[in-house]
Symmetry: C2
């Protein structure tokens, strides 16, 4: 859970998520849309991958990234739990 919060803490990574919502994209194409070096973006993608928020599948020489929607829903549920706007959850919440 902590990995998800950390992944969301950087604006660029949230923008990548917003981008991928519209459809899958290869890493290079994502890179062209940001004003940062490719290795830097590759690092951001790794953080998102390790948090489980995206997956990358190789197609030929390119690696196409797509959202992992189930994880996004899980993180939503966690945040709902943290704020307790929704209810019917564990009585002793552990936010980690």
């Amino acid at each position: 859970m902590n990995l998800i919060y950390e992944a969301l803490a950087h604006p660029t990574r949230r923008q990548i998520i917003a981008l991928l919502r519209r459809g899958d994209l290869p890493a290079g194409e994502i890179a062209t849309l940001f004003d940062i070096a490719k290795p830097t973006l590759s690092g951001h993608l790794r953080v998102l991958r390790e948090a489980g928020l995206v997956i990358g599948e190789r197609h030929g020489t390119s690696i196409v990234y797509s959202l992992q929607l189930s994880l996004l829903e899980e993180s939503m549920a966690a945040l709902l739990d943290l704020f307790k706007i929704d209810s019917a959850r564990s009585p002793e919440p552990d936010p980690n």
Copy 2:
């Protein structure tokens, strides 16, 4: 918005939020519930304050902290927007 995501990125700060959901608490009492030095906790409270997630009101020598529920709801809405689970929002989302 970015401040909120950054504030939520640390486990201790999320635990503070979970704690305050049950009721307001003075800083010192929060500190006793964590195994960290008081100045460290004071720093976490500052981060939460600057993100607008909590407010601190002085009562005598102590400062009582409470959740800023409106901001919590706003951040929920932002996350819903980021993931687009809910709809009927801005057509060109900016996740910053």
